[in-house]
């Protein structure tokens, strides 16, 4: 017996199963949990002090007031100086941009050398690098401070850039090396036969293929350096204090009224850049990490 209608065996399976519902519930709960502080920060920054004192933390503002934002930006006091966060933004940019460029470039060269120019002791060197990734910053702060003051760059812009470059090196070397190890080695051999030397091959062959992993590295470094507080506080010096340090000084103010709305506005201002970087480049970040993971 052959019927003309070809039927699938049984009804089509439903997409929304109990497991799915549980999964969504879990995801939504997680999202709410992590979004709650952001919500509180935003609404608090839009309330005036009377409302903050009387009202509930979670209530939306009865009447919007924006004065906390300009105040956080240019008037809030950090110690005796009342210039707000503004100088910190410039400082953070002055620290972050060169630190990211220098550390990512060096990390890429390190990874390239370790992946392709397998010199004697390369594995040992790589192991040492990996080990460096697991040493807590705090252990190295004092020795580094001594070294930097000995060579006279402590408490200066080059000083803090050097520190960020050093601390970025293990993880950057690691991710670049793993990415480059996933590229076919024949490509490198072909380039050597074609007459490229160490730097020519790096610039003409390797860099054009490095976009996905470079994006990952840049995101890591931008957010890491921007969010850094400890190193900026110790190494940057008075004139170059990054936004995070100024934010701390605003929030930790010891006299007068504690203005929660200004604190909140200042905190949001400080975290806008890393937040934006994640939101805008999250897709690339995942893609870059996955590219390394699948082949590496």
């Amino acid at each position: 017996m052959i019927s003309n209608n070809i039927e699938a065996s049984g009804p089509k399976p439903k997409h929304l199963t109990i497991g799915r519902i549980g999964l969504y519930f879990f995801i939504i709960t997680c999202a709410l949990f992590f979004l709650m502080p952001l919500y509180v920060m935003i609404i608090t920054s839009l309330k005036d002090m009377d409302e903050i004192r009387s009202g509930n933390l979670l209530y939306i503002p009865q009447k919007l007031s924006y004065y906390s934002w300009p105040k956080a930006w240019s008037e809030a006091c950090t110690g005796f100086i009342c210039e707000g966060l503004r100088p910190g933004l410039i400082n953070s940019l002055k620290i972050t941009i060169p630190s990211v460029i220098v550390s990512v470039t060096l990390g890429a060269i390190n990874g390239y050398a370790l992946a392709f120019w397998r010199f004697k002791g390369a594995y040992f060197f790589f192991g040492l690098c990996l080990f460096g990734a697991f040493i807590p910053y705090q252990v190295m702060v004092y020795p580094l401070l001594k070294i930097e003051s000995a060579i006279g760059i402590y408490s200066s812009l080059p000083g803090i850039i050097l520190v960020h470059t050093i601390f970025g090196m293990p993880i950057l070397t690691l991710i670049f090396r793993n990415f480059y190890s996933s590229l076919p080695i024949d490509l490198f051999k072909a380039a050597r036969i074609d007459g490229g030397n160490f730097l020519k091959i790096f610039f003409y062959v390797i860099i054009p293929m490095s976009a996905p992993i470079t994006i990952v590295a840049v995101i890591l470094q931008v957010t890491g350096i921007w969010n850094d507080f400890l190193l900026g506080l110790v190494f940057a010096g008075r004139d170059n204090q990054p936004m995070t340090v100024l934010l701390n000084n605003i929030v930790q103010v010891k006299f007068g009224v504690v203005e929660y709305n200004v604190d909140m506005a200042a905190t949001i201002l400080t975290s806008i850049l890393p937040l934006a970087v994640y939101l805008l480049s999250g897709r690339w970040f995942v893609r870059g990490i996955a590219a390394g993971a699948i082949k590496g």
């Binding site: 076919p184 024949d186 490509l187 051999k189 072909a190 380039a191 050597r192 036969i193 074609d194 007459g195 490229g196 020519k200 003409y204 062959v205 054009p208 293929m209």
Partner: protein
């Protein structure tokens, strides 16, 4: 004829493992040399040493009269084609071809002239502006060959260039590589594990195993007179049939259990002593159906039709072996046939040393 490439007493170790041991190899000018062997035999390592991509531990490499042992790959007059094509993914075909020339600061007009010539020869002219990702496997390999062409390489090195292609394309490109060799007359060294490629392309084949060249000879010689059991087993598809038995010197024959095969027609290079364990090898096409009186009767156990040929499987004293018959033969499973071994074309090996007798 001069030697184009000379490898002298080359040794290469990887950690504590000896990959190549004291290897000598002379390749004549314009010769197509195939390095053939199973994976791990050191053939690719040897090619990489010749290319200068690996630093050897001992020995000497001379290319076109130059001692290039410690020279950079670019200074060795070589071009290399890789299994994975190794085209620079960010560059167009044209840029891929010209990369080497640009690295050596060749003037623009000479570059475009050379690219014109190479792309004409390889029929990739219309692909010049494409990226490698927009090419098929066969086209990619053509571009890779072109990259070696534009560099005016004296010696072409091929590292399993066809292994990533499907069977039909492989045959096509094999033909084109052979044609290229005929037209250019360059020395070519070609690494493969595919014996058909080796047989069809080579002037001479070096069969390698564990870092040692087992036999270096013309394809015909290697096929007909393999110097060792390994070579005999490795070359030929369907493979050579082997029977383990003893040599009986009294009537100059091969004894397997109760059966005797007379070896009067076999030309021994070294005659074994009585009762030596020997291996009798014979190719499927050297066995024929025959009604003569020295033929033996067998029952067909399996039939493999392959189009042009048909392979039938029989058993001799419990050792299965295959016979190659014409594709048109119409035997059925269970049929009884009389066959005859062509002793003159068989190969006999010492069981212990595995060398040809």
């Amino acid at each position: 004829m001069n030697n184009s490439v000379e490898v002298k007493k080359l040794s290469f170790n990887y950690g504590n493992v000896e990959i190549l041991k004291n290897l000598d190899l002379d390749i004549k000018d314009g010769e197509f040399m195939v390095l053939l062997g199973p994976s791990g035999c050191g053939k690719t390592t040897l090619l990489n040493c010749i290319a200068g991509l690996l630093d050897l531990d001992d020995g000497q490499i001379i290319i076109e009269g130059d001692n290039v042992t410690w020279k950079e790959p670019k200074d060795r007059h070589i071009g290399m084609v890789f299994q994975s094509y190794a085209l620079y993914p960010s560059m167009s075909v044209e840029k891929n071809l010209s990369f080497g020339l640009r690295m050596s600061n060749t003037p623009k007009n000479i570059i475009s002239e050379k690219i014109d010539k190479a792309s004409e020869l390889l029929q990739i002219k219309e692909l010049l502006l494409r990226k490698p990702s927009q090419l098929s496997g066969g086209q990619r390999q053509r571009v890779a060959i072109g990259r070696a062409l534009v560099r005016d390489a004296k010696v072409f090195l091929f590292d399993e260039p066809l292994s990533n292609l499907d069977a039909k394309l492989r045959a096509e490109l094999r033909y084109e590589i052979k044609k290229l060799h005929r037209d250019l007359g360059n020395t070519m060294i070609y690494v493969t594990h595919d014996q058909i490629e080796a047989m069809t392309l080579a002037d001479r084949i070096a069969v390698m195993k564990n870092g040692v060249i087992q036999q270096l000879d013309s394809p015909k010689e290697i096929y007909n007179k393999p110097s060792s059991l390994f070579v005999a087993d490795f070359i030929g598809s369907p493979g050579m049939n082997f029977f383990n038995g003893k040599f009986v010197s009294s009537d100059n024959s091969f004894a397997l259990n109760n059966s005797l095969i007379n070896l009067n027609n076999y030309q021994f290079e070294h005659k074994p002593s009585d009762q030596t364990d020997i291996v009798f090898g014979i190719r499927p096409e050297d066995i024929s159906v025959s009604d003569s009186k020295e033929s033996i009767e067998f029952k067909i156990e399996l039939i493999e039709p392959m189009g042009a040929d048909t392979l039938i499987w029989l058993s001799f004293e419990d050792t299965p072996f295959s016979v190659r018959l014409e594709g048109s033969s119409e035997y059925k499973l269970g049929d009884v046939i009389n066959i005859k071994f062509d002793i003159k074309r068989s190969s006999i090996f010492d069981k212990k040393t595995e060398l040809r007798l």
